[in-house]
Amino acid sequence: MIYEGKQKIWSEYQKEIPDDNWYYVRSCIRQNFFPASERMFTEISRNVLGKDIYETPHHTTCGGIAYHCDTIPQETVMTIVARQFALMTEAGYENYCPSCITSFGNYAEILETWREYPELETRIREDLWKACRREFKKPKYLAHTSDLIYHWRNEIAVRAKHRLVNRQTGESLRIVEHIGCHYAKMFPSKGVGGAEYPYVLAGMIESWGGQVVDYPERRHCCGYGFRQYHVKANRSYSLSNTYKKFESMEPFHPDAIVTNCPGCPYFLDRWQYVIAEQTGKTYGENGFGIPVLTYEELAGLVLGYNPWDLGLQLHQVAVEPLLDKMGVEYDPEAKYLGLNRENILRPELPGSIRCF
């Protein structure tokens, strides 16, 4: 092996991530699925780490969800994205960080397309000017918010109140990391570690005391895959993909799954209930499922936030076994209490998978 050659190849998969001054854009769907995740990102970055994160209420969808569902052409998406860049330029920022993996892939794809076809960029600039009299500069740095948490992982580890260690046995928790397909599978050099060995979540897990589970279908899609799920006739395919992943990770007895995509945690979480209904099989210990968390929720747990403030009661799979292992204190009675301890009613619990 020529060491220098390997170093050169690996250096292409390293990513320069500025430490501060980011223009933050939210996902279309994350706030419906796991509402505290994005809130937790701004909380951690601004209030815990003291970073400058700016966001504007004028931000709209990036169009990526419709583009990947085959319902709008790329030129339309490009003009929407051009407007987002114009908002960033008007706010005086140069570093752009989307919370959504598909947005991240969408921005990366568009910037790369404009680099290859500059005449297309000129046309989109004209279209944007005609549509809303705006002009834009392209972002100097593009990073996903998980890249930022990865970049700050050691700062978070220093402030950690809980580590990813089993309090009872003292062993590191076995965590499955699942990376959204649009993170690096389209443009491997845009992610930390490329498509094959993305280190973005693995770095967080190792830094916070856990051990990463390697399993055969580690890089398989979560099952969402946009048109796999949105076209109802394909929904079995979506479910079967998720099933394949769980069958593959089951022998390694993971304690939790952490993801960096809006769709993945939702499908890995909810499909566990559907699989339990259809096959009677659950993948956690004692009839529970495997808790699925977003990286912001995991960071929040590590930093000692109240699990119910992190919105963990909105997960289908019970997270209590993980909280018990980590030694996180929680009030079971407060699980379904809303703001100011207002009763927001308990959901009906399924019989096929253990939940609280």
Partner: protein
């Protein structure tokens, strides 16, 4: 069980490490042509039975390679021999089909 309107589909992943090669090896002894097939599909293209029954020599041979029981797939073969005429590798497909039937009937 709740009816979601969709169900789990079995995985079609092949674990080639677990494939039983015995039948295929025996077939190669009975008809050495089995080993030289390039899977071009000419046999299936000319098969008069294919359009009615889904019979396909190419598919049958692939299934034998993967250790599956193919006896039923051959039910509709009429042994007309058109596949033998078109085979670019000169395989005696009629003997191949008869050998496969013999293998699975024994």
């Amino acid at each position: 069980m709740t009816d979601f309107g969709f169900t789990l589909s079995c995985s079609s992943t092949l674990d080639l490490g677990k494939v039983d090669n015995d039948k295929f090896e025996e077939l190669c002894r009975l008809e050495p042509g089995a080993g030289v097939c390039i899977g071009c599909g000419s046999c299936s293209a000319v098969c008069p039975s294919a359009r009615l029954s889904g019979m396909s020599v190419r598919k049958v041979l692939l299934a034998v390679r993967r250790g599956r029981n193919v006896r039923e797939m051959l039910q509709c073969c009429m042994l007309c021999g058109k596949c033998t005429i078109v085979c670019p590798r000169g395989i005696n497909t009629r003997n191949l089909i008869l050998s496969i039937c013999k293998l699975y009937d024994d």
